[in-house]
């Protein structure tokens, strides 16, 4: 029963109609959910920072197919996609963004800090690069305890300029621990383009310099991402060695809601939008007659309903009493 969205499929099923439709459904689900989030943000239901994944869905959905329930995930602050693809309930994510105590972190984390224990989702981390050492440590524990499982660590191209990236690469390689580093290279560290951030813009070279096996893949192609992920994940678990996967992708929306996008040309955005992973897959499936308009409509309806439920759930949620403000600073004795 644990296998919902985002858990591993048998490789044989990779190209089945059902699986392809499922990939499309998952990406669309993230896209629609986040569009709604943007609206709710403008409506002031959601506050704080809201970083949307629009355009990058293929990365989370593709990689997540290769992960087992026992694997761990360390994500970034742009992690709604990962959280949904991993199977965390949309209701609790939405309630979290509303700040309600029914949220997955009781409204203490918000958009940038989604956590879930059952799915081993070790959070969105709002410090760029901050999650990397954590992932190395989780994998180190697995190694020490002889558990054949991996930790999947998402990071952006911006994180690769941080010291913590280099420290973590070195530690992962030195200790030979099972981490799958997934770089979502969306070309911009907030508003600073890759070429203004990195002396060497060929990012996999950085992993190579630490002696870490690596690959680069088109992050706008969910099938390509899944294929590599399916191939490397069992090897990581088996050998216990780290792997670095760069997914080239693009964020269609602004860095966060309050971003006038002064740093890039509209034409560039439009050009990338032509490669929208959802449109691409839809097109493919239609051409291969693996999906009909009626199927698409049904998927949209399903998602629409789920989102409406999530909003209703979040709206109906309650504010944690202020008397509980100082809880969860230190562990409470278990009852």
């Amino acid at each position: 029963m644990k296998k919902k969205h985002g858990t591993a499929q048998a490789p044989a099923a990779v190209n089945s109609h059902q699986h392809l439709r499922d990939l499309l459904y998952q990406m669309l689900r993230i896209r629609r959910f986040e569009d709604k989030c943007a609206e709710l943000y403008s409506d002031m239901k959601i506050r704080g920072f809201l970083h949307l994944y629009n355009g990058e869905e293929a990365v989370a959905v593709g990689v997540m197919q290769a992960l087992n329930p026992e694997d761990a995930i360390v994500a970034t602050y742009r992690e709604h996609g990962q959280a949904l693809a991993r199977g965390i309930s949309m209701n609790t994510i939405m309630a979290e963004m509303f700040g309600k105590q029914e949220g997955c972190c009781r409204g203490r984390g918000g958009s940038m800090h989604l956590f879930n224990k059952e799915h081993r989702f070790y959070g969105g981390n709002a410090i760029v690069g901050g999650g990397l050492p954590l992932a190395v440590g989780l994998a180190l524990a697995d190694k020490k305890l002889d558990r054949k499982r991996l930790t999947c660590c998402f990071l952006g191209d911006g994180a690769m300029a941080e010291g913590e990236f280099h420290e973590s690469m070195n530690l992962a390689a030195l200790w030979q621990v099972p981490v799958l580093f997934v770089c979502e290279n969306n070309q911009y560290a907030m508003g600073t383009a890759l070429k203004y951030s990195h002396a060497v813009t060929n990012l996999v070279q950085k992993a190579a310099s630490y002696g870490i096996d690596h690959a680069a893949v088109d992050g706008m192609d969910v099938l390509a991402v899944e294929e590599v992920a399916q191939k490397v994940a069992p090897a990581i678990r088996e050998t216990g060695k780290p792997f670095f996967l760069e997914c080239t992708t693009y964020r269609f929306r602004a860095h966060s809601m309050f971003d006038a996008e002064l740093y890039r040309e509209k034409a560039e955005v439009e050009q990338w939008k032509q490669r929208c992973p959802i449109a691409t897959l839809t097109q493919q499936l239609k051409e291969q007659e693996k999906i009909s308009d009626a199927d698409l409509e049904a998927i949209e309806q399903l998602i629409h309903q789920e989102i409406n439920h999530a909003i209703a759930f979040a709206e109906a949620g309650t504010w944690e009493p202020v008397e509980e403000l100082t809880r969860f600073v230190y562990s409470e004795p278990s009852i």
């Binding site: 569009d35 403008s42 409506d43 002031m44 966060s256 809601m257 309050f258 006038a260």
Partner: protein, 406 residues
């Protein structure tokens, strides 16, 4: 019909300026289409609609700056759903602090008030001892007044009537108008207050006296064994057993726990035992051990310690001096065998304990030598009769024989 309003794109966005409309009335818009460019502090932002709709009317002219939530356009929703697109109602964007118009405000030259330099402790003490701080000379830095200065001043000054009266002051209902100290000595003031209360007692209260001997061998053996297990600091004094026995006896015989007011006995529910503490420099105070029946022996010992320390340090609270419901006097330490006490009005009883001394004790035809304590009761005959008093003394005895249950 729906209104399109100036959206909130960040908690720090308060207003937006319409730069240009990207649509005109009659245009069909899809979810995600850009309706306008809006200038914010962060630059020009493209503003999207979240529904499929038709533009009905544009309400703002370009270059207009409006607060977040202001209606900008009227839309007709195409999905046939009547819905408020943007509802900015329930939460306001936070306002920045108002700008300060005049950055420097001249500080008017105020006459400096002469303020005494007094330590917080000294100030508190002065209030308790009724010492006028303006009359105290501080020996601290720059004439600061400290605890010691106040204590010295208190000794020299006229005895303040209040603390003197507190010493034996009965509850507020009963006044002792006689207590008007005229001498310059605090002890003399206290003496006078005691004199007043005791004279009144002797004049108004028809005392009856009862006494009984109590075999203390079991109680003392038990206590000795108990104290053996403890460090010196945790040891319990025998008098604590007596206090607890009195408290428990009062729960058995409540008629002795109360006041004689308005010609009737008012039995009190709470048992506050006034414990007579003599001061080395002379005089006597009887602060109350509150709820003595509810306290364990350890708690009673702690309470006693606290009271004695504070009594001798002069830090008693007035309520402790006025709300005892019975008084206990133990003079055994000085070698007295029996105590015939004078009741503190408006209380109705006083229990006295002498010293615990080896005495011959006959039981079942056998003569033995045992540690014996003589307990006495002074009772107010207006409130109770001897039979009540006898029951009470018997109850004390019973509780002391079952000391492990105290």
């Amino acid at each position: 019909m729906a209104e399109f309003r100036m959206p909130s794109l960040g908690a720090d966005m308060r207003t937006g300026t319409l730069v240009a409309w990207k649509v005109k009335p009659g245009d069909h818009l899809k979810h995600g289409d850009i309706i306008a460019d809006v200038e914010t502090d962060k630059g020009i932002m493209e503003i999207e609609v979240f529904e499929n709709c038709i533009v009905e009317e544009l309400l703002l002219e370009p270059d207009t700056k409006v607060p977040v939530g202001t209606p900008m356009a009227r839309l007709k929703l195409e999905d046939g759903v009547e819905k408020e697109t943007i509802a900015v109602t329930d939460r306001e964007t936070p306002s920045p602090p108002p700008a300060i118009e005049s950055p420097t405000i001249p500080v008017p030259e105020l006459p400096r008030e002469e303020r005494l330099r007094v330590s917080p402790l000294a100030r508190k003490l002065a209030a308790e001892l009724d010492v006028d701080l303006t009359q105290v000379k501080g020996a601290g830095a720059d004439g600061a007044i400290h605890q010691m200065d106040v204590e010295e001043a208190a000794k020299k000054l006229q005895p303040a009537p209040k603390p003197a009266e507190k010493v034996v002051a009965p509850p507020p209902e009963a006044k002792s108008p006689e207590a008007k100290p005229t001498t310059t000595d605090f002890q003399a003031g206290m003496r006078r207050a005691i004199a007043a209360a005791m004279s009144r007692s002797n004049r108004d209260i028809p005392h009856y006296y009862l006494e009984t001997r109590i075999d203390m061998s079991h109680a003392l053996q038990w206590l000795e064994a108990e104290n053996q297990k403890r460090s010196i600091k945790e040891r319990i004094l025998p008098v604590v057993l007596l206090i607890k026995a009195v408290a428990k006896a009062l729960t058995d015989v409540p008629e002795l726990n109360g006041y004689w007011i308005d010609d009737q006995l008012q039995v009190q529910e709470a048992i506050h035992i006034g414990f007579a503490i003599s001061l080395r420099q002379g005089g006597l105070v009887t602060p109350a051990i509150h709820h003595a029946d509810l306290k364990s022996l350890d708690e009673l010992m702690a309470a006693l310690r606290d009271l004695i320390e504070r009594t001798r340090g002069g830090h008693l609270r007035s309520s402790e001096l006025s709300d005892a419901t019975i008084t206990l006097t133990s003079l055994g330490d000085i070698g007295v065998e029996k105590v015939y006490g004078v009741i503190y009005p408006p209380q109705v009883a006083l229990v006295g304990f002498g010293k615990i001394a080896e005495q011959p004790w006959a039981e079942r035809g056998m003569l033995d030598v045992r540690p014996v304590l003589t307990a006495t009761l002074a009772g107010d005959h207006r409130a109770t009769d001897g039979i009540i008093g006898a029951r009470f003394l018997q109850a004390i005895n019973t509780h002391l024989q079952a000391v492990e249950k105290l």
